[in-house]
Assembly symmetry: C2
């Protein structure tokens, strides 16, 4: 019925066999999978500078040191993930690694952290993308939140259609981003070098705000915590090793290398350039806001075509990084739902092979975050880092346990490993152990440094989500137990008499006719029910006419064919709703023979086009839902479809024959 509208908006339904996924080489892998990690360049350094904004020139000096610390942490993470790729060559996501190695709490804990991380990737991607846009077009500043919500709606529609995301489509903005930001940073660093540290900007950034704070350890920790958001997204390669071309492990590793090296070089160059050009973060809530990248690009290139291309690439890549969550989140939910930790609805692919429940949930969550934090990136950043680093840490700890088990197995002689192999495993244990320690310390810094700024929300949300996941698991296990418990017995066919059939009719029309004819096929015991609202002369006349029609068009032909004629019952009701009187009448009819089930026949108008679907009242569909809900186990409902379109001659003939 809704089909043509649905096809228009969401596209044609897709068969399973069409769901072939393409395989990436390094170049396409960087575009499709690296996008999320690389785009962090657009908000991570800015988040760090925001914390330092009150310290003036001193802040611009220390940020280079913080950037070096972040790149070192990134390096540790890089070596850790190289190993994860080797050990889990199909899917090494934090959820899988934690479930495999860390017992029944860690899996759902990682899932909770990842789910919150996905929500925030969407919110931060969109808000910082719009931040780039309003830097280029300042008159849009008052519309920040509206623009964020419009982008969110667009992403939702595109993903309900199913992305069929070709890596070619993603490659253009990604490489435009790498190319333009890379060129801008190269020019900036070259100028800084040539001018001895003080290049002349083409379009000077706003003057540094006066230094009102001094740089202390507490401020450094907070700046580091904010800057860590630059590392979000680097785990993506390990989640999807399966998507790479054979030999997939080396291809995935090369891809990760390209991503991490690019990201690290960008972060360092950006730190040096902002120092050289005196670029400081500004307040996004104030009109005239310019993102750090926008200020720097204008200073290096001026506000010509090169500036606008760079900003367009930043906007595109950030929106697409939000899009990667729309691909990843529903898939994570599917995996988690198949393990029983989420309602089964999340594991059911829709007509375009997308998991609609996950997409809708992601949109609602990200929309709430955007509205709650008014579309301002800076307010979302404290929440963002916690989920990401919790999943990093769980994944690293999981890997460390993985290697330790391997080591023990070889010690107890369960496997006959060469001494060389043992040594290699020890090194691996060390690398992942170090990764776990480093990310764990970073996580602790983030929680402490960002607690009052919003991290507390995530600290509450993660255990709440975890509780929900575990409760869902218990529920699913219990349902299965009950459904399977009593079934190992012969079915009961001693009594197989037809049910008592009841047909609610509103007036004598084609719907009533079809329903009565159908009811007579199902049972010899048929009662039609007519519910009328109030008394009055017009009501009496209408009922008289209905009774006359009933006698003439129903009773007469049934008697002629020697069958028991169906009865017509009139029920009066003071309720506006139909449910209560029908339910009462059905139950009182059922009392005549308490051992037989009751079956209500409801003709349902089925429409071919969405227009007709919207026009109808769906009174019958609602009545069916409520009869099933409140009627108890004895009342079943049969829905007989009825189409409004005129019969074709063929169908008319068939109807004659039957």
């Amino acid at each position: 019925m809704l089909s043509s509208l649905k096809t228009l908006v969401f596209g044609r339904a897709i068969a399973n066999r069409d769901a072939r996924s393409e395989k990436f080489g390094v170049l396409r892998g960087v575009a499709a999978i690296g996008l999320d990690g690389l785009s962090s360049v657009a908000y991570g350094p800015e988040a760090m500078l925001t914390i330092l904004a009150g310290t003036g020139l001193a802040g611009l000096n220390v940020q280079i040191g913080i950037a070096v610390a972040i790149v070192l942490l990134l390096t540790a993470l890089y070596f850790s993930y190289l190993q994860t790729i080797g050990a889990y060559p199909s899917n090494g996501g934090a959820y899988v690694v934690a479930s495999d190695n860390l017992g029944s709490y860690a899996g759902p804990l990682a899932a909770a952290a990842l789910m919150i991380d996905y929500l925030l990737t969407v919110a931060v991607g969109i808000s910082s993308g719009i931040g780039a846009l309003i830097s280029a077009v300042p008159s849009l500043h008052p519309y920040t939140l509206s623009l964020c919500l419009i982008v969110l709606m667009g992403l939702t529609l595109v993903n309900l259609r199913g992305t069929g995301e070709s890596s070619t489509f993603l490659a253009i903005p990604t490489y435009l981003f790498i190319g333009s930001i890379g060129a801008m940073l190269a020019v900036a660093v070259a100028h800084a070098w040539a001018s001895g540290g003080h290049p002349v900007p083409v379009d000077p950034p706003p003057p540094l705000p006066p230094a009102t704070q001094t740089v202390g350890i507490w401020l450094l920790l907070r700046a580091f915590a904010s800057g860590c958001t630059a590392m979000t997204g680097v785990e993506a390669v390990s989640n999807g090793v399966n998507s790479f071309r054979e030999p997939k492990v080396p291809t995935a590793r090369r891809t990760l290398t390209v991503i991490v090296v690019t990201l690290g070089v960008f972060l360092l160059a950006l730190a040096v350039s902002t120092r050289a050009f005196d670029v400081m973060a500004m307040d996004q809530t104030q009109p005239g806001y310019q993102s750090v990248l926008s200020q720097l690009t204008a200073a290096v290139f001026g506000r010509g075509w090169a500036y606008y291309i760079t900003i367009a690439a930043v906007l595109a890549v950030l929106c697409l990084s939000a899009n990667t969550s729309y691909v990843g989140f529903p898939r994570l939910c599917e995996t988690v739902a198949k393990d029983g930790y989420l309602p089964g609805e999340f594991a059911i692919p829709g007509r375009r092979l997308v998991y609609s429940a996950g997409i809708v949930f992601l949109t609602l969550g990200a929309g709430a975050l955007l509205i709650g934090f008014d579309g301002v990136t800076d307010r979302l950043i404290p929440l963002f880092a916690v989920g990401a680093f919790l999943s990093f840490t769980l994944s690293q700890v999981g890997m460390a346990v993985h290697w330790r088990r391997k080591l023990r197995a070889s010690q107890t002689g369960q496997t006959t490993a060469a001494p060389n192999e043992r040594k290699r495993t020890l090194v691996r244990l060390f690398v992942n152990g170090f990764g776990a320690l480093a990310t764990g310390i970073a996580l602790a810094i983030i929680i402490v440094g960002k607690f009052t700024e919003g991290a507390w929300i995530v600290i509450i949300a993660i255990p709440v989500t975890l509780m929900f996941l575990r409760a869902a698991k218990r529920f699913n296990v219990e349902v299965d137990r009950r459904l399977l418990s009593g079934c190992q017995a012969q079915i009961d066919v001693r009594d197989h008499t037809a049910p008592i059939v009841i047909v609610p009719i509103r007036r004598w029309d084609l719907l009533a006719r079809k329903a009565v004819e159908y009811a007579l096929r199902l049972s010899p015991d048929v009662t039609a029910l007519h519910v009328t609202k109030t008394q009055g002369p017009d009501v009496r006349e209408r009922i008289g006419r209905l009774k006359q029609n009933w006698q003439k068009y129903v009773e007469a032909p049934v008697l002629q064919n020697g069958l028991r004629p169906p009865r017509l019952e009139i029920v009066q009701s003071e309720y506006r709703s139909l449910l209560t009187p029908i339910l009462d009448a059905v139950k009182s009819i059922g009392e005549r023979d308490p051992h037989r089930p009751l079956l209500v026949v409801l003709p349902e108008l089925v429409e071919e086009n969405w227009w007709g679907y919207l026009m109808h009242t769906h009174r019958e569909a609602r009545l069916r839902t409520k009869l099933l809900q409140y009627g108890g186990p004895r009342i079943s409902v049969v829905s007989v479809p009825w189409q409004l379109k005129p019969q074709t001659p063929d169908e008319g003939l068939q109807a004659e024959n039957s």
Copy 2:
């Protein structure tokens, strides 16, 4: 299933007999019905001043003249509506008056104008309420749109619960508003008088912006057009004469008099006071925004408790005026839907006797307006006036035609009216004719003056809505014609064999058991369908087990009872969705006997609590919808309810007996 969550959020279902409406006297009538009209004081004058903001002191002088013109127009409208109340003592809304007197286009045209007017009342009420709030608490300025959307959500929830809005509840903020604004204006005018026109403000308003424009005729017309929004809502009394205590016509007229006199006095006093205190409108998009009422109240009272009480009353009254649309809009939709101009869904009361479809539609529309115009009142005003004045004009023209018909009837002698009565009708014709002319001219000014500022959107939206309403009418007439056309004939009972019954089963569990037992009651021809996805050793083993169970638990007992045993069919499918393979299999089973209908049995898990409802997959419900949608007229579906809760001993006994 969802019942307990629903009860929590939306309240208990209400029976028809509980829907007694209370009757108002004048005092309560002013509160419950006058609220909308009186609250216009908070945005109408401000909208006028916004147009004049660039003209400085000259603008503050001419605005008094414009206010006088608006009050004169209000007076004309007042006398017109006094007559409407007498002529239509049950419901004299513009839709009814236009439908009655102006032919088949005018009714839906008035409905379209009113519907758009209701949408804008919600949007403007909320946005100017939040405008008052951010005047008092400037730090909330960046959250303007978020706050608007939160209020909108709150109103939606309250109204889906059903308002049961007692006039007592409304009386407190309304009289607080009348009292505090009245006191403030009285003090302001008294100070102005005593000081010879230049009183000293307690808390001075921001300095007047420099005059960059001169006052011309075009500016005056645009200011008048914006100021006319101060009159919106005065039609409310004529819509609801039925709600007044007997004798209802005089009571309603007295109420209207109180409302109009209060509104007129407020508008004039406000014009004089803003002139005296040099208060000019400010730009709501800029931080530091202060509404006109906030500036004036601070100038008169200072920013003490009197200021905060006044602003709180303004905020409350504006939000409640948005609430009146939530009462009026669904009722209008119900009337229009009963006439066939809207889908029937709008005429179906929900479980709490509210018309949920209308409420949801209103929220979506007002939400889109708020997001599209960023929650800024000033941008919504140009759209607002068009719908309101179009419905004023249609209502007045309708009344004029009404009196002319009466006059003609008395001329042609159809009624024997006294000459006195004739004269009175002539006066009435004149009054409503003048009202029509005045509001018509105002409408023309509004359309011309506001066209480029946004009125064009409404100029497009009204005919589009009108087309939709008329198309809906045609559709409804056609459906009725088809449903009634072929029914005057005897039902066909020559063939009443049972349908072929098909039971899709996923595995052998209690659901499958119950479905098979039920199927055997309906027909001797039962086939169970098992759809399996891929081939492989585990699949083969699972199918083997299923066949074994089938033989042991189904075939054996059926054969023992001397019945025809149901068959088990295994269908392989490469689709992820179940629909296509099941549909194909059902159709191929149907080919065995092309004259019999097909009936698919689907056991449906029914949950008592919302938690369980959310947990289940609803796979069967979705399958049922799709079978009905794509299966053609031959395939019906029976839903057999199955509850998860453990059986009570009684039910167990009953199951034993049956």
